[in-house]
Amino acid sequence: MEKTVALQVVTANRIGDGTVVYLTRVGGWSERITDGEVSRSDEERDTLMAVAQATAEIPEVVEPYLIDVVEEAGVIRPVRYREAIRAQGPPVHPAFGQQAEEG
């Protein structure tokens, strides 16, 4: 079965502490990319970004943007390595970031 690549989630950094976060279905922000709401169409994308930007005005997060993801067996994974590093934490410091919490 082919991987679908036209999927996206919105990511940002939480303003207070800079933590990487992902926009969830209910319009909140989670540190786990797996909680990220996946957009599958242009319309959904626009909606997600509008919600994200509104949150940025409050301000809850800084500089939200869309990233490409793939979905494999129900798990969301970023396409770009850079975003994988953001999602997991710095590879050179396995004690920091999401990778430590999962480990």
């Binding site: 800079g18 500089e63 396409v79 850079r82 590879p91 920091f96």
Partner: protein, 551 residues
């Protein structure tokens, strides 16, 4: 070293209060990120991949033990227990919180430190020779002028919104350990015809996307004219530097586009109007600052230290370290000690809070309480008695800072790269670690000799790869990390930009490629040539041939 008076202290205290207000307004939504970003950058606070990053200024790389302890405290209290020393003699923290930053700045202010202008489009840290004040080859201590420049450039109302960042470096010795020709303005202390000291002025050096070795625009500038001349350069740049294209906004582009002669003409014309005026510092002020850099109370010691020589004979590891990491001091019986932050397989330039505290203790015990940060991401204790070297060495071994690799292949400079930096295309730290591990054997390292490898994770060149003997630039090729190798760069008085040797290497292949380059050098060298000497003699062809032979 320089100590704040009430005015200096007032400035940093007011700055903390100002930033506290700016952060509060931001968190309350009264400032947009667009409006807040330049303000936080002017206090050294970046937003990176995982978190904010705070760059703290260490003016011309000079730190007291008290200040080092505060840096350790900040690492523990507000970060994850470590810090990273940079290629501009500053320190970076990778995990501060925005909401904590005013308190961090307050903690810094309490020990006469700050993060003012460590980012943003204004003057950055003025850097210098890590052996300033103690080097045997020095004409005059450049730190006096670094401090003068630091003050003049702090919150300069005319030059806080330049086209781009602005970096100045000063050296007081003919052996340039500050890479002055690779800076927006480089100043070399020289002797004039009457024997007085002044500055050779270089403008338009730089690395990044378009590296240039800066041309000299004035062979000799008397010291009294320093600030007026700098101001003239800045006024020309502020008006004429490009503002339409971020990648063409540095002064090096302006110098390259109009030519050194024309730049000189424009600077001298502007300078004509402002010299001998309000920017001439009164003698009393220069002397007041100079007094802070008076030599410490050196003992009168013999140059020959038989006990030290005996220890070297008795202990081969100590001898290796002393021969590699210890440099000549201008005062008999003293030595300059380099503390390596490049343990085999380690992260270049990183130090834990515990290490920082230990260095502070060692500085107090052995080196009049002062520490220097080098632009090659190591530390220096500048005033150690030779008789103390063995004891110091043993303590450095205990804290992992005694790797005898200064200037050798494992003394690698690397930027944080894609592990941390939002601008990066590829990871740089693991490449440094793998190279370091590949060449872990000390005998081999010493046989190879001086070989400066510098690694950048993107074209912004914070790892200074353009001036590495071997430079490595990380690229993103269709989502894969690739590494381009340059050869023959040099950051010293024979400054040169490295040449690309051929197509980039995959992450898997790059360490083998470096080893091929090294083996080629070893094969071709003559008469005690260093790598850079052999390269200059044979050119890049032999290396290119070997690297791409299979292809």
């Amino acid at each position: 070293m320089y100590r704040y008076d009430e005015y200096d202290q007032t400035l940093v205290d007011e700055r903390v209060r100002q930033f506290r207000g700016q952060v509060a307004r931001r968190l309350a939504g009264e400032l947009t990120e667009d409006e807040f970003k330049p303000l936080r950058l002017m206090n050294g606070l970046y937003l990176q991949l995982h978190a904010y990053m705070l760059r703290v200024a260490i003016p011309y790389g000079l730190l007291s033990a008290v200040q080092m302890r505060k840096l350790a405290h900040i690492a523990r209290r507000y970060d994850r227990g470590y810090g990273h020393f940079t290629t501009r003699q500053n320190i970076q923290y990778n995990w501060p919180k925005l909401e904590d930053t005013p308190d961090i700045l307050a903690a810094l202010a309490s020990v006469e430190m700050h993060a003012i202008q460590t980012s943003g489009n204004s003057f950055r840290n003025t850097t210098t020779d890590q052996y300033a004040g103690v080097a045997a080859d020095e004409i005059e201590d450049p730190r006096v002028y670094c401090e003068i420049i630091r003050q003049w450039s702090t919150l300069h109302p005319e030059f806080s919104f330049l086209p781009r960042k602005f970096k100045i470096a000063v050296t007081g010795a003919p052996n340039d350990r500050a890479a002055v020709r690779l800076h927006d303005i480089g100043l070399i202390m020289r002797r004039g015809d009457a024997g007085e000291t002044g500055f050779e002025v270089i403008v338009g050096g730089g690395q990044g996307r378009t590296p240039f070795v800066g041309p000299t625009i004035r062979e000799f500038l008397p010291k009294k004219h320093l600030l007026s001349y700098l101001e003239a350069i800045m006024r020309v740049y502020n008006q004429l530097g490009r503002r339409d294209n971020l990648f063409k906004a540095r002064i090096k582009i302006l110098v390259h586009e109009v030519g050194a002669e024309k730049i000189t003409e424009m600077v001298e014309e502007e300078w004509r109007h402002i010299k001998d005026g309000a920017l001439d510092l009164p003698k009393e002020e220069v002397e007041r600052i100079r007094a802070h850099f008076a030599p410490p109370p050196y003992e009168t010691l013999a140059a020959a230290q038989p006990a030290f020589e005996e220890k070297k004979r008795a202990d081969g590891a100590f001898a290796t370290w002393a021969d590699t990491n210890v440099a000549a001091h201008k005062v008999p019986g003293y030595a300059i000690v380099n503390l390596s932050l490049k343990p085999v397989g380690g992260i270049p330039g990183d130090a834990t809070a515990d290490q920082m505290d230990a260095v502070a203790d060692l500085a107090e015990h052995y080196s009049f309480g002062e520490i220097r940060v080098t632009h090659e991401q190591n530390l220096v204790l500048g005033d150690v008695r030779r008789t103390d070297l063995h004891a110091l060495w043993r303590k450095l071994r205990d804290i992992g800072m005694a790797t005898p690799n200064l200037g050798l292949i494992s003394d690698i400079i690397a930027c944080p790269g894609l592990d941390y930096c939002g601008l990066a295309n590829a990871r740089s730290i693991p490449v440094a670690q793998r190279i370091s591990n590949r060449f872990a054997d000390l005998k081999r390292q010493h046989d190879i000799g001086e070989l400066k490898i510098k690694i950048s994770g993107c074209i912004n060149a914070c790892g200074h790869h353009h001036v590495g003997h071997i430079g490595i630039l990380g690229l993103d090729r269709k989502g894969e990390e690739y590494y381009q190798i340059t050869l023959g760069g040099s950051a010293d008085q024979d400054a040169a930009i490295g040449k690309i040797v051929g197509p980039a290497f995959s992450s898997e292949a790059v360490v083998d490629a470096v080893e091929t380059v090294v083996n080629t050098y070893v094969e071709l060298r003559q008469n005690g040539e260093r790598f850079i000497d052999t390269y200059r003699r044979v050119g890049k062809e032999p290396f290119k041939e070997r690297l791409y032979a299979a292809a």
